[in-house]
Amino acid sequence: MSEIIGAIQQAIYLILTLDPEVIEITIKSLYISLSATIMASLIAVPLGGIIYYHDFFGKRSLINLIQTLYSLPTVIVGLLIFLLISQSGPFGSFHLLFTPTGMIIGQTVLILPIIMGFTITALTGVSGQIKELAISLGANTTQTIYTIIKEAKYAIMGTVILGFGRAISEVGVAMMIGGNIRGFTRVFTTTISLETSKGNLELSLALGMILLAIALIINLMLNFVQGKE
């Protein structure tokens, strides 16, 4: 119990004193996870729209596969990307291992299926009449998909937040691809893991609380945006 109280005190202390290491870790975590979320969204939302719009052979199986990939363990994604971008892997010459860019790629791969799958689900929730209406008004395929996505934008926004949540809270990719290099690839989760293994439980807990506080702020901001429209 005293550890939890100590952690709350330490979290408040770290925030109020603008601890430089915590600030650095916060910025790095946000940069990596937000970049990954935006990349994954840019790919997955339109693709989800296309999959939803078209009827083709194997569509059900494809959606099943995408949903199966929700459960992809983060260390497996980390390991696969590691093997690809390691010096002796096929993309070794790009020198992406142990860099923030490598971590962004890893997290993008990790959350791509989640955003794609939930986008399809969100679009399915939109009435089929909208699709027919758009087509009857002369919209082409791209315009129709755009209209449907716009109609489901709140659900899709929720999907993107979910993807961001998975990205910023995962440790497998961050550890294996980033390597937890101080001041370079060290993010919230890898710091928490390191500090726990050093026995600094209060500091770990404090960092976890700061991470949650940031997630809360991002959610509040999105709620605010939604309320304005």
Partner: protein, 296 residues
């Protein structure tokens, strides 16, 4: 979506793409300004390497030392794949194999300390005063009779410490594989030294640890275990630096690696190693090797 939202999103995308391209081009240039070091958890967890890194970067501004820590097993894997420039590890047999296989150029011993066998204060297996091999044998015998009282926690992670543990088990004449599989007294943590010490403390068990990590942990009363066996040739723990062979991977920063090794061996570097921990723990965690030859 109105035009304003689209514009904002476009700006964000361009900004991120820009940073990405910058990061990419920066990491792709031939890089003499970056030394990537893979190291064992003990050098990182005790905080020694952080201090050496700071001193090195102060002496050579513009060079960024990047440290990735894990067990000796993963550190060597990074070296074999050409993902780092320098290894700082402590497992003689695997180091020699690493060099023999052509992945590393040469071994430089830079510091040593001892592995310690630590356990509960009341020492239920009665190992105090024995040598390492006899102590392990005793723990095994007592553990098989009374696994509620006598337990042993192993890292089980192929680290340098785990290697040494296996070597000592084998020297007792017992078969390590049997020990690993048979028994309720033998617990594998599968984690770094710090976590393993915490687990052993929780279970009131024996374990083998490098003295540096143990001192760092018991100082802050994170654990109540006590050192029981602290000397003996079979517990000697030598840390070495091995630059990765540039003939294997052309992009390796071999000059940087060598310059870091030279710094470690210089009077300045050796002094940092030798003084580290004196103030905080009342004794040095590592013995610098240049002025203190390894005891025969």
């Amino acid at each position: 979506m109105n035009n304003k939202t689209i514009a904002i999103i476009a700006v964000i995308i361009i900004a991120i793409a820009g940073i990405g391209i910058y990061a990419y081009s920066a990491s792709n240039s031939p890089d003499k300004s970056k030394i990537r070091i893979a190291t064992t958890t003990s050098l990182e967890d005790t905080g020694l390497l952080k201090e050496v890194e700071a001193a090195y970067e102060k002496k050579y501004p513009g060079v960024d030392v990047q440290i990735v820590s894990g067990g000796t097993g993963i550190a060597i894997q990074y070296g074999e794949r050409g993902d780092v420039d320098l290894l700082l590890v402590h497992d003689k047999a695997r180091e020699e194999k690493f060099i023999k296989d052509g992945f590393g150029t040469n071994r430089t011993q830079f510091a040593y300390n001892y592995f310690w066998i630590v356990g509960p204060q009341n020492d239920p297996a009665g190992i105090k005063g024995l040598n390492a091999t006899a102590a392990f044998k005793k723990i095994m015998e007592e553990g098989q009779i009374n696994s509620a009282q006598v337990k042993f926690v192993s890292r089980g992670d192929d680290s340098g410490t785990h290697s040494r543990e296996k070597k000592i088990w084998n020297s007792t004449g017992a078969n390590y594989t049997n020990i690993k599989n048979s028994s309720s007294w033998y617990i594998e943590s599968g984690k770094g030294m710090g976590d393993t010490l915490i687990l052993a403390n929780e279970k009131n068990a024996y374990t083998i640890t490098d003295s540096g990590t143990f001192l760092a942990f018991s100082k802050d009363s994170k654990i109540q275990l006590v050192p029981l066996i602290t000397t003996g040739k079979d517990l000697l723990n030598i840390y070495t630096a091995i630059p990765v062979n540039p003939q294997k991977y052309g992009k390796t920063n071999v000059e940087g690696a060598q310059s870091f090794v030279d710094f470690l061996m210089s009077p300045e570097g050796q002094q940092i190693v030798g003084n580290y921990g004196k103030e905080k723990y009342g004794q040095s965690l590592f013995t610098p090797i240049v002025s203190n030859p390894v005891p025969a």
